[in-house]
Amino acid sequence: MNAPGNELYGLLAKFSTPEALVEAARRTTRAGYRRVDAYTPFPVEGLYQALRLRSSPLPFVILAGGIAGALTGFLMQTFANVVDLPLNIGGRPLFSWPAYIPITFELTILFAAGAGILGLFYFTRFPEPYHPVFNVEDFQEHGSQDGFYLSVEAKDPRFDLVETRKFLEDLDAVMVAEIEA
């Protein structure tokens, strides 16, 4: 638990309801704090806006994956049937593209889903087995079950241990704890 020097990662405030957390997050970002994150045991509506998070870029990653899959599927079949292994079957056209559609479609889905998952790993930086927030005992116990938390990092330019703590307590936090790095 005790890292050398007991460096501070930030402060963690606990709230009793998701609504209280959203309100607290809104006021914290309005007060100018930027390195703020929230922890909730299920996705909470309005929290992303309150934290001023950008909307996830992953839909575009998935779109790109889908396009790549469609091109791969269609071009692979065209290459196989027209260029690499042209078979004359009863004089039927080699470039019989309607018959390529099912595989093109399947690969579109496969690549899009794969891109989504890989992108999720990239943007969430998973797997990440260690994070300072786990050093807070209350978080270990309730973080993934029934606790609603807001964290402010010490790196935030506006961060001040005493003032920020007071600020968070004034937001009706149930508890405010220091996060050791």
């Binding site: 996830s56 049937n81 099912p102 889905i109 889903a113 990440e128 087995p129 993934s144």
Partner: protein, 458 residues
């Protein structure tokens, strides 16, 4: 929240921590406190798996001659079972993906289980085409890869489409299922008492810490995966339908096959979910989460799908006569009076007649009756594939080549074996992983609390 329905999606009085504890503690039960019923069920499953391994081992060593297949009935139990299992899998995707997009909140407590069912059913299904190959050790010829023969698979064939459809379906189903599991695995990590369990679940959950930034990405991918899985599930069974429709065999060569197969798949899949869910909720006292509302909704979907399937039967016969092809007419008549007529009548009874009972609310709310109906639908849908495959093939164009089919002990033991494998995997799943999506249940608790306008407290 739908308020018009009289049954609640979630019994009142549940809180975040109570749903968490009740669901997460099933997998965390001490090994010695495993319920007796589970041990018995798992043991029965394992014994059947042994039969399966013996049968499959024999088939691999001695070849497909062990099966009852002949010329012209080259597709026997293997393809019947393949279509049956893959169809069962489809309900899982339907529940988890389509109902998510339609924002049907009753899906929440059954989606995880239904997705797991999909995975195991698809795993079973995927084995059959390989078992059915004369030379299973070169199954990879189906996959396009650079090879010294300079050959490619025949991309214009629905059988090759099937390879792509099934692999994509299995992969996407797995990713979707596991993705939904990650937040719950983190909960398991935090609830586990033993260090090795904490570590195991910690590794499996990739270090999920329920951060809002992560939820933001997670949700956008989760919805898009659902949006991708929805057309996928339709395409998979359409392609399975085309495996048949592309053939000129009377009874197969029909444009109605793709949609009719999709409806049949969903029909049998919902029947299987009900077959498993009704005993499970009883055994694990999950009546608060899997309420009468769920069973009612599933029974209604089953009825709707059954009616579409019934329409399919009607159209098949109508088109046979309307098309005026003598072979098709003969085939349609042979179903009613030929060698396999008893099976055809049984399937009509199971899939068309029995489900009419589901119009009645008293039947839908009677769990035992509902379970029996679901079981009959499972049987009926298996028979449907038997009729489509065996009856159509056994009497093709020239009477001199007609040949009836009857399964051997190997056909039967492989079929029963996969049922055992399915049960074993289901038992392992409910023992080792949270069978209900915990984080989505918390969401439901939150919504309920909001709906009743009471401050949700813990």
């Amino acid at each position: 929240m739908e308020t018009s329905n009289e049954y609640p999606v979630l019994e009142p009085g549940q809180t975040y921590s109570s749903v968490t504890a009740q669901i997460a503690d099933i997998p965390l039960t001490e090994p010695r406190q495993t319920p007796r019923g589970w041990i018995l069920g798992f043991f029965i499953g394992l014994v059947i798996v042994m039969i399966f391994l013996y049968a499959v081992g024999n088939v691999f060593i001695r070849g497909v001659g062990l099966f009852g297949i002949n010329i012209p009935v080259g597709w026997g139990f293997d393809i019947i079972n393949f279509v049956w299992w893959i169809g069962i899998g489809h309900a899982g995707t339907l529940i988890s993906a389509i109902l998510l997009l339609l924002r049907q909140d009753w899906r929440t407590s059954i989606n995880r289980f239904a997705e797991a069912m999909t995975l195991f059913a698809v795993a079973n299904a995927a084995m059959f085409p390989i078992l059915h190959l004369g030379r299973p050790w070169i199954f990879f010829y189906l996959i396009p890869y650079p090879n010294s023969m300079g050959l490619w698979p025949q991309f214009r064939s629905p059988l090759v489409w099937d390879v792509f459809a099934i692999t994509t379906y299995a992969t996407v189903s797995f990713l979707f299922w596991y993705m939904g599991l990650v937040p719950d695995l983190a909960t398991m990590r935090d609830r586990a008492k033993k260090m090795w369990m904490k570590r195991l679940f910690g590794v499996l959950s990739f270090g999920w810490r329920s951060s809002a930034r992560h939820w933001n990405h997670f949700q956008s991918v989760y919805f898009l995966m659902a949006a991708l899985a929805t057309p996928l599930v339709l395409s998979v069974h359409s392609i399975v339908g085309m495996d048949f429709a592309y053939g000129v065999v009377p009874g197969w060569h029909s444009t109605i096959f793709p949609p009719y197969f999709v409806a049949g798949a969903v029909f049998s899949g919902f029947a299987m979910v009900l077959t498993l869910m009704i005993p499970l909720r009883k055994a694990y006292h999950l009546e608060d989460f899997i309420t009468q509302r769920h069973l009612d909704a599933m029974a209604k979907v089953m009825l709707a799908m059954g009616l579409i399937v019934g329409y399919g039967y009607l159209m098949e016969n109508f088109m046979a006569y309307y098309g005026a092809d003598p072979f098709e007419i003969f085939n349609a008549r042979d179903r009613f009076i030929g060698a396999y007529a008893p099976l055809y009548w049984t399937l009509l009874f199971c899939n068309v007649v029995v489900i009419q009972l589901l119009w009645f609310k008293s039947v839908r709310s009677n769990n035992i009756l509902l379970w029996i109906i679901a079981l009959l639908v499972n049987v009926g849908m298996w028979l449907e594939r038997f009729i489509i495959i065996v009856q159509s093939l056994s009497k093709d164009f020239i009477p001199s080549s007609w040949h009836l089919y009857s399964p051997t002990i190997w056909d039967i033991s492989v079929l029963i074996g996969t049922i055992g494998l399915f049960l074993t995997l289901i038992f392992l799943f409910i023992r080792l992983l949270p069978a209900i999506s915990i984080f989505e249940m918390r969401e439901l608790v939150h919504e309920e609390a909001e709906a009743t306008a009471q401050p949700s407290s813990d």
